[in-house]
């Protein structure tokens, strides 16, 4: 029996689907086929349109078609004034949030794909005239469109594959684990994210780690130094395996020369400061690495700065390496 998936989009950009199509080794369709996953309907991929698609939704609601996973991409729009009419599913005159609630009630698992579906994301950014929220979170607060107590038929709360966008593998691996019955409540973190990627930090594997160690910092875009001190990077606190799994054949935000903006977290869209500028008090970044006592950070940073090798100090503010690591012949030769 195939593991069946229905994918619907609401208040979002569709970027998680576009990212999903970037899946490699093998391509997305081969991955799904190999895992016994059948996409009953996906807005970008399926043949069925209009009434043909509506028939499928009816079959699912009536129990004629089993649904193993309902994947929702995009935030749920509750406005205006609680009507949900900021998104009426085309061809149905019915708000998407109502469709989602009915389908979630019959699905074995409910998967929020992307930060919008998980927590509201950019779609819920201030002033949030849409009254947008996630499936089971409203920013940091449990609740959202389905309520904090919601459990899908399979027993799990909404699985939040957060990210803006999501890495294709985060989505396919989540679906594969669900299909194998290998994802249980212990496999999710406090924000409902699968721990297989969310228990990593973006800092892990960052190519700027040596600059970080010595607080050799970049001041402007294209410079090679650490982006934590000045340029808004919060990779030391952000959950995600971006710098070990890598994107589009080898990239990541920090490898692309710009800050990690913590896009897998609730409310990342409201950092409280410009995204690409680090907020500081008395010259010390307000947001410190996860788990690190502030006094230690200040002490270590001062020491590290004092000890910064000239190579790192100069390379940090250049867009290419101007000083190479020295080649030394060991003394015993």
């Amino acid at each position: 029996m195939a593991f069946t998936v229905l994918w619907l989009q609401s208040g979002g950009c569709g970027g998680c689907s576009m990212s999903l199509l970037c899946g490699e080794s093998p391509d997305l369709l081969t991955t799904l086929r190999g895992a016994g996953i059948e996409l009953l309907w996906h807005p970008s991929l399926s043949e069925r349109t209009g009434g043909e698609a509506r028939d499928l939704f009816d079959d699912i609601l009536c129990g004629r078609q089993a649904l193993d996973a309902l994947c929702i991409e995009g935030a749920m729009l509750r406005g205006p004034e609680g009507t949900g009419r900021f998104h009426v599913l085309a061809g149905t005159e019915r708000p998407m949030i109502d469709w989602m609630r009915d389908l979630a009630a019959v699905a074995r698992h409910v998967v929020a794909v992307g930060t919008c579906a998980a927590y509201g994301g950019v779609t819920a950014a201030s002033p949030n005239i849409l009254d947008a929220c996630g499936l089971q979170f409203d920013g940091y607060y449990p609740g959202g469109a389905l309520g904090a107590d919601f459990r899908a038929r399979g027993g799990l709360p909404v699985v939040n594959v957060a990210g803006c966008p999501t890495h294709p593998d985060w989505v396919t691996e989540t679906l594969m684990l669900l299909a194998q019955g290998a994802l249980d409540g212990d496999g999710l973190d406090a924000f409902g994210r699968p721990r297989f990627y969310a228990d990593q930090l973006v800092h892990h594997g960052c190519t700027r780690n040596e600059f970080y160690e010595y607080k050799a910092s970049a001041l402007h875009p294209s410079e090679q130094g650490c982006m934590m001190e000045h340029m808004g990077c919060i990779g030391t606190q952000a959950h995600g395996d971006c710098n070990t799994r890598l994107w589009n054949g080898g990239g990541s935000c920090t490898r692309g020369g710009y800050a990690c903006i913590n896009c897998t977290a609730p409310e990342f869209e409201e950092p409280g400061h410009p995204f690409a500028r680090t907020p500081k008090i008395a010259g010390i970044p307000v947001g410190l690495p996860t788990d690190m006592p502030k006094a230690w950070f200040v002490a270590l940073s001062s020491l590290a700065k004092a000890a910064t090798p000239d190579r790192l100090a100069r390379n940090a503010v250049s867009d290419h390496q101007v000083v190479s690591p020295p080649c030394r012949t060991p003394k015993w030769r």
């Binding site: 979002g12 689907s17 990212s19 991929l45 900021f86 998104h87 950019v122 054949g249």
Partner: protein
């Protein structure tokens, strides 16, 4: 859903309309086996313009790309251009070339996605069983099962490795900056970019075109296209031409034949020159005209928006959503240039750029399903050839990004091209904050609702006369026409 309206006219509502980006509903009034009138309804409102207001101007670089997952880089580029306009700076030379490569990668990936995954699968529907080409179309393009789907996903993923090298990832990069790009690369990475593009070229030449890109780029007129259809190299392009001739797609989906391009890829025509690869302008009545951007307005007459009593220039525009009864039917506004609707996209770009086949196709049959799709494929070939040249123009060691100071007060419009057409961001900065941000996306032009004078948008016009066979719930002719525009509804309702 359907229902009878006046005098034998049937109302048909088609939705959810998939294999377009975002949610779309099309309402059709049908009589005598033809569409008599159409209303295009964007059923989702996003409100990104309102989210941008009041923020630090540089934050638009993080927020605005998230308007759209398929035009993300185009949105990002429009932000960077608007900010650069306010700041009075331009990109470093390497930054310019890298930005062109990043934007072209997205445009090309979108064209390939559109043709293989969104547009062609309709010809593999059982409705066409019995056509001479059906077995081949089905084998190649059946949704999710055809051989083309898997192979194009691999090619697309390979192409998007350009983003892994130059832009961190796709979608939603912060690499494009007002002063250039955030990522400088070395000679080794330039070599890597070359090999990625070589891989994409090989795949397209093998499967899509059946021959070298240069032969596609050189297609000069409809006679040459006819020869390709009957004697050309075997490939998906020729298969499409065969289908198009059989179904007379050149007679389907004609709108107003007024075309708009903002132009793209500055410095992209030749090294050391400032000219754009695709120049901006209008194409009307068989010739090009200068574009006067100040003549652009948006009309909310039938949009669920306040301020619907008169059209607004974007710098004075507003986005205050309000569900209205009566005539209003879409969240989409109605952009007009000098009061007229315009079509935008690859066909418009190639017309303004003077590509002879595009001009000949339009001289004979106007903008239609065939000419839009052919223009997209010809542009794909031309773009990939240009990209190979741009990789050779990168100069490791030279600057990638100029130093960017604070954003002063002022206003500017950032104009670029997404795969599906002209994209503009109208930015006003006051007191160091975004005071106004208005966006007109390509599908806002193409899928515009009616304006205050009752003039339908381009798609609404293009659907009139589309044949509807008895019992069709989602008429195939309508599906071909809608998808021929490669719509992005996420952008439309930003």
């Amino acid at each position: 859903m359907s229902g009878m309206t006046e005098q034998g006219t049937t109302r048909l509502v088609v939705g959810p309309f998939n294999r377009v980006e975002g949610d779309l509903e099309v309402r059709l009034d049908i009589a005598d086996g033809q569409v008599r009138a159409a209303q295009v309804n964007a059923t989702l409102f996003r409100g990104i313009e309102r989210i941008l207001e009041g923020r630090d101007p540089m934050d638009a670089l993080a927020i605005a790309p998230r308007i759209c997952g398929i035009c993300s880089v185009s949105q990002s580029h429009a932000v960077a251009l608007a900010l650069a306009g306010v700041m009075g700076i331009g990109p470093a030379a390497n930054g310019q070339v890298a930005t062109n490569l990043i934007l072209a990668t997205e445009n090309l990936a979108d064209h390939l996605t559109h043709f293989h995954l969104f547009f062609m699968p309709d010809f593999a529907r059982a409705d066409y069983e019995g056509r001479p080409w059906f077995a081949r179309a089905h084998a190649r393009f059946a949704a999710m099962r055809g051989t083309a789907a898997r192979s194009i996903l691999q090619t697309r993923a390979l192409l998007l490795h350009v983003m892994g090298v130059l832009a961190g990832h796709w979608p939603h990069t912060l690499a494009i900056q007002p002063g250039g790009v955030s990522r400088g690369v070395g000679m080794q990475e330039c070599a890597r970019l070359g090999s990625i593009l070589a891989g994409v070229r090989a795949a397209l030449e093998e499967n899509l075109f059946g021959t070298v890109l240069e032969e596609v780029a050189a297609l000069a007129d409809v006679a040459a296209l006819e020869t390709w259809r009957t004697q050309g190299p075997q490939g998906d392009f020729r298969l499409f031409l065969e289908i198009a001739a059989d179904l007379e797609l050149e007679r389907s989906g004609r709108a107003y034949d007024r075309f708009l391009s903002y132009g793209a890829y500055p410095g992209g025509l030749a090294a050391g020159e400032e000219a754009r690869l695709w120049p901006g302008g209008l194409f009307v009545d068989g010739g090009t005209r200068a574009l006067e951007i100040a003549a652009v307005t948006e009309d909310h007459a039938v949009s669920h928006m306040d301020d619907h009593d008169h059209p607004h220039p974007p710098f004075a525009g507003s986005t205050i959503p309000r569900l209205r009864d009566g005539a209003a039917y879409s969240w989409c506004k109605a952009p007009r240039l000098s009061g007229l609707p315009y079509e935008t996209g690859a066909l418009a770009r190639q017309l303004v750029a003077g590509q002879p086949l595009a001009r000949d196709l339009v001289a004979r049959g106007g903008g239609n399903v065939l000419s839009r799709v052919v223009a997209r494929l010809v542009e794909s070939a031309r773009l990939l050839i240009a990209m190979e040249g741009w990789v050779r123009m990168l100069r490791p060691g030279a600057p990638w990004c100029h130093v960017q100071g604070a954003v002063p007060d002022g206003r500017a419009v950032g104009m670029t091209e997404a795969a599906r057409g002209a994209l503009g961001h109208w930015l006003r900065v006051e007191g160091g904050r975004i005071a106004g941000y208005q966006i007109i996306a390509p599908t806002t032009w193409n899928f515009s609702p009616r304006d205050g004078s009752g003039t339908p948008g381009p798609l609404e016009r293009a659907l009139v006369g589309a044949p509807v066979r008895p019992g069709e719930r989602a008429p195939l002719s309508v599906q071909h026409i809608v998808r021929s525009f490669d719509p992005c509804m996420a952008c439309t309702v930003h």
